[in-house]
């Protein structure tokens, strides 16, 4: 008798769980304005990528052409597939001290897996993930970029 009751209960429980699942999909079906598909080439002008999207590694510059990169090379060490090359140079500060600064922050987009490790490792937060996703080019060499802009310098007061 007990097992018979269990059997009946299991039938109704099973039906109930099925209905719960169907309720979820019904909600998706009847709220078409929540659909996630982007009609890409048509909505190219209005399409905004979501915040966490990783399109490429970029180095933000201020309006005075200043960045935060000290040239320490930690990102280069952290990159699992060698997509970053740091070329640094020594300069003399006005006080007469020798100092190593970034010369070229070379970034190979073609080899990057967008794993975000370099961004996480950078002690000064000099590099971030950009949202651009249209990276198609005709020449592979164009995928090798120098992230620090020409003539840029490190912002004042960045702790080294």
């Amino acid at each position: 008798m007990k097992s018979f009751i269990e059997y009946i209960v299991s039938v109704f429980k099973g039906l109930w769980t099925l209905l719960v699942g169907m309720k979820v999909t019904a909600k998706y079906f009847f709220t078409p304005w929540n659909h996630v598909t982007q009609q890409y080439p048509e909505n190219r002008d209005t399409l905004v990528m979501f915040e966490r999207f990783r399109g490429e590694v970029i180095m933000p510059h201020t309006e005075n052409n200043e960045h935060l990169c000290t040239g320490c090379g930690i990102c280069e060490i952290n990159c699992p597939n060698g997509s970053i090359e740091i070329i640094s140079k020594s300069i003399l500060t006005p006080e007469g001290k020798k100092k190593r600064i970034i010369d070229q922050h070379i970034y190979h987009l073609g080899m990057c897996t967008l794993c975000n490790l370099c961004v996480k490792a950078c002690p000064t937060g000099a590099i971030v993930m950009g949202q651009k996703f249209e990276h198609a080019v005709w020449d592979r060499a164009l995928l090798t970029k120098v992230l620090n802009q020409p003539g840029s310098k490190i912002a004042e007061g960045v702790k080294e």
Binding site: L18, Y28, F29, T37, Q39
Partner: protein, 362 residues
């Protein structure tokens, strides 16, 4: 030629009289056969294309996507483009396949579907033949298709095909019981196996309402078992993509694959149409006992619209099943049938008999 959207009897009759006047009986009958055959072919092809499109759109909406959008407005021409592509594909046959069986299998599957579709009443007068063991005939021919599937799996000489076909065989054999028993429940209630009588009996109230509890249980069982009969998800073990490549039609390409594909969608239509006819009143408009004005408004909608509306409703529910539930394992499928659906069905048929005997229905 009298044309009446509410009753096609006059139209079919006038065609028949016109042909009989101008030709000898043999020729007239042949021409009628051809007309009926071509009509069904056209209907099946067009409705099949529409169903594939609908399936993709419905599936997309259930997964918060848009589905095909590029070919034609809202992707309306997508399935036509796909179909043309399929027609132009090369027909490849495995060298070690059984030539005769391999080639005949798609035809068996699709002929079985056509035989089943012939019995369905679309509207008054729109039914190619109507005889007193309609439901019996339907359950008989709808299980012929599984022979085609088994042959396809066997003759392809491919392990995936064979496993898929065997699974399909085990599944359809089991679920055939539930489909037949749930239909039998309604036959007990309707007192007839003839489709026209069954539809006529629902003039005042559809069977799902007048048969109340046992009819609803039978309807649910029929939906579940019918989904399994058509080899659709969540019962798509026979072609479980993640395990068996494509199941029994792995080795088929081009038109032969298209036939299996089409048969699958015709079977979906048949199951839905049978559910609509036996439980939801077929082409009969929605009537409530004594609401005269309401009944009149409902009568204004043509029966064909009622029929297809109900069919599409049932199809939608079945698609809803497919895109909500994960695929069952083989043992789960057999447990569901033999431990749940079958006993419930047997009790339900007794309940229905009791309801009919005590006249405890509307």
């Amino acid at each position: 030629m009298a044309f009446n959207i509410y009753d096609f009897t006059t139209l079919t009759h006038s065609i028949h009289v016109g042909l009989a006047e101008s030709f000898s009986p043999v020729v007239a009958t042949t021409i009628e056969w051809i007309i009926v055959g071509v009509t069904y072919l056209l209907f099946v092809a067009l409705f099949g294309l529409f169903l594939v499109y609908a399936e993709r759109k419905v599936c997309a909406a259930f997964q918060q996507r848009l589905g095909p959008m590029r070919v034609g407005p809202w992707g309306l021409l997508q399935t036509i483009a796909d179909f043309i592509k399929l027609l132009m594909k090369e027909l490849i046959m495995p060298r070690k396949a059984d030539w005769f069986l391999y080639n005949i299998a798609p035809f068996i599957v699709i002929i079985a579907s056509f035989m089943a579709i012939a019995i369905l009443p679309f509207a008054p007068g729109l039914q190619s033949f109507d005889f007193d063991i309609g439901i019996f005939y339907l359950t008989a021919v709808s299980s012929v298709g599984v022979i085609g599937i088994l042959i396809a799996g066997w003759s392809s000489n491919n392990k995936y095909s064979l496993i898929g076909a065997m699974r399909s065989g085990a599944q359809i054999l089991s679920y055939e019981l539930s489909v037949s028993l749930s239909l039998l429940t309604m036959v007990v209630f309707a007192g007839s196996m003839q489709f026209s009588t069954i539809v006529e009996g629902q003039r005042d109230a559809w069977y799902i309402f007048s048969g109340h509890i046992p009819a609803m249980i039978a309807f649910i069982i029929f939906l579940i078992a019918g989904t399994a009969e058509t080899n659709r998800g969540p019962f798509d073990l026979a072609e479980a993509e993640s395990e068996l490549v494509a199941g029994f039609h792995t080795e088929y390409s081009g038109v032969k694959f298209a036939m299996f594909f089409l048969a699958e969608y015709i079977n979906l239509f048949i199951i839905s149409a049978v559910a609509a006819t036996v439980f939801l009143g077929g082409w009969m408009p929605l009537h409530f006992g004594n609401l005269e004005s309401f009944n009149h408004v409902m009568d204004f909608i043509p029966p064909v619209v009622w029929f297809f509306g109900k069919v599409l409703f049932v199809i939608f529910i079945i698609m809803w099943f497919k895109w909500t539930f994960p695929r069952l394992r083989v043992d789960q499928i057999l447990t569901l049938e033999w431990k749940y659906l079958l006993p419930i069905n047997l009790v339900n048929i007794l309940l229905m008999a009791l309801v009919v005997l005590t006249k405890f229905h509307f």
